[in-house]
């Protein structure tokens, strides 16, 4: 099913493989995603292209990140500006969009809904807020 793949060393030193399936998904286990470095690609404020399900006058935006692997993992999510411990910060407000399909130990798909939820949890464990704030400040100041 793979079109092509690449092996690389994860932060744990384990040689792993990321490959692209014929349906366009990169299939991998959640632990491998957690060990894969993501690089900030772009962030922006909500341009109002489409209505959001959330409410009000909050400052909201999007952010995009990619892995350094080939094929590249792409993951993006919407965020909202919020006060975090008295300082401004970004909070994820929806499940991410990506080209990832998580698989279980038997290489079975976890499905798009569960994958998106697990991706969100993995993203929340990463320190991305300050990078997004800096990117927004640089872009809009």
């Amino acid at each position: 099913m793979s079109q092509h793949s690449v092996t690389h060393s994860s932060s744990s030193g384990v040689i792993t493989s990321i490959s692209l399936s014929a349906d366009g998904y990169i299939r991998l286990r959640p632990l491998l995603f957690q060990a894969t470095e993501l690089q900030h690609l772009m962030s922006g404020l909500d341009d109002g292209v489409l209505p959001r399900m959330d409410s009000g006058a909050a400052i909201v935006g999007y952010t995009e990140w990619v892995s350094l692997t080939n094929p590249a993992i792409t993951v993006g999510w919407d965020w909202q500006l919020s006060a975090m411990d008295g300082a401004p910060g970004c909070v994820r407000i929806a499940d991410p969009f990506s080209n990832v399909m998580f698989i279980d130990e038997d290489s079975r798909d976890l499905g798009p809904v569960r994958t998106a939820r697990l991706l969100g949890e993995a993203i929340d464990a990463r320190p991305w807020s300050s990078t997004v704030l800096a990117a927004i400040a640089a872009r809009y100041s």
Partner: protein, 186 residues
């Protein structure tokens, strides 16, 4: 409203010229796309005899939306014009993958510009669903599109199973990406 589908010669008489005019008003006049088109109509090299169209038509005959389906076995927009959106991947070339392009659902009688661009109408989901069903009937297992990032929200909210083919790229100031829409639903 009804949704029609077929090739240019298979659509009811008069629909295809009306569709070309509608596309010009939407994409060239309203959205300002810089397209090389004949006066008053919007057609390009991908409008061929094998191109399949889906057209939303109001009860009074007005077109309220449209989409274009191209088999990836032949030249198509993503593969020929926006291959960079695939970041080096070989563009799909399969009877099971069809491209959806020139998709819009916009009421031209609404003169006020809305930031939602070509997706402002409530017709959007109905037309998209019809396009997916039409493609499935032609043998597709998934569609691929060149899309703005915001489309993912619409697709998810409407219950479509969609995912990215590769990371987004900013083209003409807008982040675009190649998006797969699976024929199955979540």
């Amino acid at each position: 409203m009804r949704v029609l589908s077929g090739t240019s010669s298979g659509l009811p008489a008069g629909i295809y010229p009306q569709l070309a005019s509608y596309r010009h008003e939407v994409f060239v006049q309203r959205l300002g796309w810089q397209l090389q088109t004949p006066e008053g109509v919007e057609v390009d090299q991908f409008d061929r005899p094998d191109t399949v169209y889906v057209v939303a038509q109001e009860d009074d005959g007005r077109i309220a939306g449209c989409g274009r389906l191209l088999p990836t076995l032949h030249p198509y927009l993503l593969g020929d014009v926006f291959p960079q959106l695939l970041h080096g991947q070989t563009p799909p070339c399969s009877a099971e993958v069809w491209e959806l392009s020139r998709f819009c659902a916009l009421d031209l009688q609404q003169r006020t510009h809305t930031p939602a661009g070509q997706f402002s109408s409530v017709v959007t989901v109905t037309l998209l669903d019809a396009a997916v069903r039409c493609a499935a009937g032609l043998g597709a297992r998934r569609l691929i599109t060149v899309s703005p990032l915001g489309v993912e929200r619409l697709l998810r909210h409407a219950g479509f199973h969609a995912h990215r083919a590769a990371p987004p790229i900013i083209i003409d100031g807008h982040p675009l990406f190649a998006c797969y829409i699976e024929v199955d639903r979540c």
